[in-house]
């Protein structure tokens, strides 16, 4: 089976105080369709940069990224936005819910941006909210929810457009241990059920332990993660 994500000679450098810092260095890798892949690494090792490049939120200094056979790095900004809307879901460390939209509106937002009729989008959003256990909070605004609840809403939002790939950047980084574990367990089960490919960035061995594939970013390169669980 062809890999869902293919990274080809990816390099990303930053200019910092007159110095060039290489974050990703001629990185090539493939991520299998339907797998849960965890990328581990120290703070500042380039995990978020890698996810942002795959999502087309940032441009690599050189190299290519293919997702489902499409060359993301050759797309313009508008095309990338549409591509994300159709194929990629996100779960962020700080949840990134839109504070001015209700829980229901947040969940159905990607569907609406894709031009789906609101009743259809609402129905699917309610179904997802039931799955994450928050349908009774659908009319609340995000600031009324706890961190764990907000992350569950973000998981529901990530799945509304039935993406092929979900990118999760430190999804438990802003939650306490029990809320983090609950969110992670929910995410894992929902993704597996839908056979969604997950690429998760974290610094935690414990989270990495439950992944299908464990990788570590070291010196701008992805290597198999062999570290002990914490």
């Amino acid at each position: 089976m062809a890999p869902l994500v293919k990274l080809e000679h990816l390099t990303k450098t930053y200019q910092e105080a007159g110095q060039t810092r290489v974050v990703l260095n001629d990185l090539s890798a493939e991520i299998e369709r339907g797998s849960i892949t965890v990328v581990r690494g120290r703070s500042g090792s380039g995990k978020s940069t890698l996810l942002n490049l795959i999502a087309g939120l940032d441009d690599p200094s050189s190299g290519d990224i293919r997702i489902a056979g499409e060359l993301v790095t050759q797309m313009n900004t508008r095309r990338r936005a549409i591509f994300r809307r159709q194929h990629i879901g996100f779960v962020f460390q700080f949840f990134n819910l839109i504070p001015t939209l209700t829980v229901l509106e947040n969940v159905r937002l990607p569907a609406e941006l894709a031009g789906r009729p609101v009743p259809e989008a609402s129905e699917f959003a309610h179904r997802l909210l039931r799955e994450v256990g928050l349908d009774d909070r659908h009319s609340d605004f995000p600031d009324r929810l706890s961190g764990g609840e907000q992350q569950r809403v973000a998981i529901a939002r990530a799945l509304i457009e039935t993406p092929v790939l979900v990118l999760a950047d430190e999804p438990t980084g802003n939650l306490d241990r029990s809320a983090g574990e609950a969110a992670l367990s929910l995410m894992r089960s929902m993704m597996r059920e839908r056979e969604v490919t997950v690429l998760l960035a974290t610094h935690s061995h414990r989270i990495a332990a439950s992944a299908d594939i464990r990788l570590t970013l070291v010196d701008g390169q992805l290597v198999p993660d062999v570290g002990p669980p914490d």
Partner: protein, 835 residues
């Protein structure tokens, strides 16, 4: 405390665009106040200077009726009363045909009697041979340095001048230097006999200057003959100040508007700043800063912005004053008196006033956010959403306060009937009260927008506005105030113009008008020969000639304009606000010796059933049988039959003539015939439509400065919206990045910002429309009546409302251009991980 201040000031420099916008807004507000202040002071100063220099050292003056006083009175004072410090003066206005009929003062003095009054006319000494023609040749004048410079005239030049229906040429003999008291004004100085000849006042004087102690003055006043009276020299200046007081107060009130709008923006910026820094402020409290110190820090930040804005504003105001002086002095010229206004001097007092106003407005506006900052609890970790939720909870309180303030304003307005300043303060309270409803209006517009469209971008935009109300409300309020004032003032001016147009069509009933070009605006200046009436009546095609005499007469209410009109033509009933009987009955009584007074005279002075006027036969009481609408002057006018006027005043001269054409004769054709008959007199012959157009041109010129002021307020509000959008964009970069990550295209993001901005403009416009209408009603029904005594019919027109919508939404959309352009630089990856 120093570290705190340093931290606060650094925060200002880290937000350079927002800080610059506040400084600029406040600078514009202060500049407008300073410019109008300077213009008012310059006009006043110009008049006082020319009045004082023309009066010299005189303490008193003997004056008479419209035709002046007989020379015999001077002899009587000098010989009969033995007054040595007495000097005869002849004064009038001439027009300069070669300089677009520019008016200039003609001053005729008897230099041999001027010794005690003017010590600086030594250069004109009769003993200097080069000045001999001044005394010996007619039509010879010395001009002042200012006049010489402004017209490029030199000794030896010949200057054509028009006085009444006489065209003459004056020989320029010399130039009075600027170091003399008279030198700084614009005038033609002549020997008294020459001036009498030029102005058609042979055997008569305009006044007699005197130096008297109070006791002698009282004694003399009692002994003067009928038709002649004594007044103090300072009286004229006082009267002039009173005349223009309402006009100046109105301008000052309007000039303060931009500052009020600017204050909203200071409030806006400081509220932004405090909300954004809540965690920092909490940390500062945790490490030992007291609430007072935080309060001082925020106030010092505001003071720095305000001081900077005020300093720039004072400089800008000085530059803007050059334009404002011209507009203000033109209006004073048109409506009140001739004053040579010079360049506005920026005194330290005026500069200090501008800075104090700007600083005061800045500190006042920053007080509420500063208090809020001082109450932040230690280790405050509340996110802004909590504060926004708090603001939302306070929505009802804020709206109730708005309604309360507006109600207090409305009650205050009723109570301050006689106080113009009180009326303006009450109007401001009403305006600000309604502006406090901006967050409520935002919520209503947001709900409507959410219900109206299923478009997610519109829904996000509509949802974000009320929830960011702490960011947007002050900018919205500022825009609402500016737009409401624009709607109110535009409606008032449009209604006023339409009322004046209607009045002109009722008043201007003749086909042609003949008058002196020197009679501009509403100043009665020219005296035309009475034999013009039969001369014009004899021209073929003329059906009727109506002679009008417009003069200033002394009354129980001071000097007032009087129009003596042909008693044959009955005035329309529509011209009367109050009348004793039908129009025909009123006019019958006017023919018999009664008078009618204009509404501004009646309301200003509470004229009763009669009015006392100083005639050449002494003080006489005339019954008042009606009050008529008149918009020619806010001084008010007394209208009487010319036949009655000639019975009481020895003044057969006329000021202008109205001619009716016979049936079948075209007014334009008749005008040509009349011009041919009047060839060589320099008189102007204008057809009805030209007179009407000139009157409306003066009207439009009068309100030109008002138009400029309301535009400036909108410009200041535009900066407010721009600042609010920039701050919102900065703070919502993570939200925008998330939307982008979820698949919103760059065009979609731009549409989102433009939609939000457009909704802000729409909210402000919608709220400004009823507010503007209320303001127009207040301005028309009360302020104009209180300031000038005029009744204006409110005329509703769609245009000011449409303008408010276009300007409000347009300015808001324009303000979004720069923030959306900046969004291109937004790093999505960075913004997504911001906490």
């Amino acid at each position: 405390m120093r570290a705190l201040i340093r931290a606060g000031l650094r925060d200002l420099t880290r937000r350079p665009i927002q800080s610059a916008l506040v400084v600029l807004s406040l600078a514009l507000g202060v500049a407008v106040v300073v410019a109008i202040d300077l213009a008012n002071v310059s006009a006043q100063h110009g008049f006082e200077l020319s009045a004082q220099s023309v009066a010299g050292a005189a303490t008193h003056r003997v004056v008479g009726g419209p035709a002046g006083i007989p020379e015999a009175v001077y002899l009587q004072l000098r010989v009969g009363h033995g007054l040595r410090a007495a000097a005869p003066v002849v004064e009038g206005i001439a027009a300069l045909p070669e300089s677009n009929q520019r008016p200039v003062r003609v001053l005729g003095l008897d230099l041999f009697a001027e010794g005690p009054f003017r010590t600086d006319l030594e250069p004109l000494s009769a003993f200097r041979p080069e000045f001999a023609p001044f005394f010996s040749q007619p039509a010879t004048a010395v001009i002042t340095q200012q006049f010489s410079e402004s017209l490029g005239l030199l000794p030896g030049d010949r200057l054509p001048v028009q006085t009444g229906d006489r065209l003459s040429t004056v020989n320029i003999l010399g130039v009075l230097t600027g170091d003399t008291a008279l030198g700084s004004t614009e005038l033609l100085l002549m020997d008294i006999a020459g001036a009498q000849e030029l102005l058609g006042m042979i055997g008569r004087l305009s006044r007699i200057d005197l130096i008297l102690d109070p006791a002698s003055a009282a004694e003399l006043a009692a002994e003067l003959p009928a038709g002649v009276r004594l007044e103090s020299a300072g009286e004229q200046i006082e009267v002039a100040n009173q005349l223009t007081a309402a006009f100046r107060t109105n301008l000052t009130a309007l000039s303060l508007l931009a500052l009020v709008v600017g204050s909203f923006l200071i409030y806006n910026t400081m509220t932004f700043s405090v909300l954004r820094r809540r965690p920092v402020l909490g940390t500062l409290r945790a490490i030992g800063s007291t609430g007072d110190q935080i309060l001082r820090m925020v106030l010092i930040e505001a003071a720095v912005l305000a001081l900077l804005g005020s300093a720039i504003g004072v400089g800008l105001g000085f530059v803007m004053a050059r334009g404002a002086v011209g507009l203000v002095s033109q209006t004073i010229h048109d409506f009140y008196f001739l004053a040579s206004v010079q360049d506005a001097p920026l005194s330290p007092g005026l500069a200090a006033k501008g800075v104090s106003l700007g600083l005061g407005a800045g500190l006042l506006a920053a007080l509420a956010p500063a208090i809020e900052a001082s109450r932040v609890r230690p280790v405050e970790v509340l996110r802004r959403s909590s504060s926004e939720a708090g603001v939302a909870r306070r929505l009802l309180t804020l709206s109730a306060s708005g309604v309360g303030l507006a109600t207090v304003g409305a009650v205050g307005f009723q109570l301050s009937r006689r106080s113009l300043i009180g009326s303006f303060i009450a109007m401001l309270a009403i305006l600000v009260g309604i502006a406090l409803l901006a967050p409520l209006a935002t919520r209503a517009v947001a709900l409507a927008a959410r219900a109206a469209r299923r478009d997610p971008i519109i829904r996000i935009a509509a949802g974000s506005l009320p929830r960011h109300s702490s960011r947007t409300a002050p900018a919205l309020a500022a825009l609402t105030v500016a737009l409401a004032v624009a709607v109110g003032v535009t409606l008032m001016i449009a209604s006023f113009r339409s009322t004046v147009e209607n009045w002109l069509s009722l008043t201007l009933r003749s086909d042609l008008y003949v008058g002196s070009p020197a009679t501009t605006g509403t100043r009665p200046m020219a005296s035309l020969s009475p034999d013009l009436e039969p001369r014009l009546a004899g021209i073929p095609g003329v059906k009727d000639v109506e002679a009008i005499r417009a003069v200033l007469v002394e009354s129980e209410f001071g000097e007032i304009p009087l129009s003596a009109v042909d008693p044959r033509r009955v005035r329309d009933a529509e011209l009367y606000r109050l009348a004793q009987g039908s129009a025909a009955e009123v006019w019958e009584q006017v023919r018999a010796g009664s008078v009618v007074v204009s509404e501004s005279l009646a309301s200003r002075n509470r004229v009763g059933s009669s009015i006392e006027l100083s005639t050449d036969l002494g003080v006489k009481k005339f019954p008042v049988v009606g009050i008529f609408y008149d918009y020619s002057t806010d001084r008010g006018t007394v209208l009487m039959s010319r036949a009655v006027y000639l019975d009481y005043w020895n003044d057969p001269a006329i000021s202008s003539l109205g001619l009716s054409a016979q049936a079948g004769v075209e007014p334009a054709e008749l005008a040509e015939r009349v011009r041919a008959a009047l060839d060589g007199t320099g008189l102007e012959v204008r057809i009805n439509s030209q007179v009407r157009a000139q009157a409306l041109a003066i009207f439009d010129r009068t309100f030109a400065i008002t138009a400029a002021l309301r535009l400036l307020a909108v410009v200041v509000a535009f900066f407010g919206v721009l600042g609010a959008l920039l701050a919102l964009l900065l703070e919502r970069s993570r939200e925008f990045a998330t939307l982008s990550a979820l698949g919103l295209t760059p065009e979609g993001l731009r549409r989102l910002v433009f939609t939000e901005s457009g909704l802000m403009g729409l909210t402000a416009s919608l709220l400004a429309m009823p507010t503007g209408l209320i303001l127009a009603v207040l301005l028309i029904e009360v302020i104009d009546a209180r300031s000038f005594g005029w009744t204006i019919q409110l005329e509703l027109h769609w245009l000011p409302f449409a303008q408010a919508l276009i300007v409000g939404v347009g300015a808001s959309l324009a303000a979004a251009i720069y923030p959306t352009a900046r969004m291109k630089r937004l790093s999505l990856a960075q913004a997504l991980t911001q906490e």
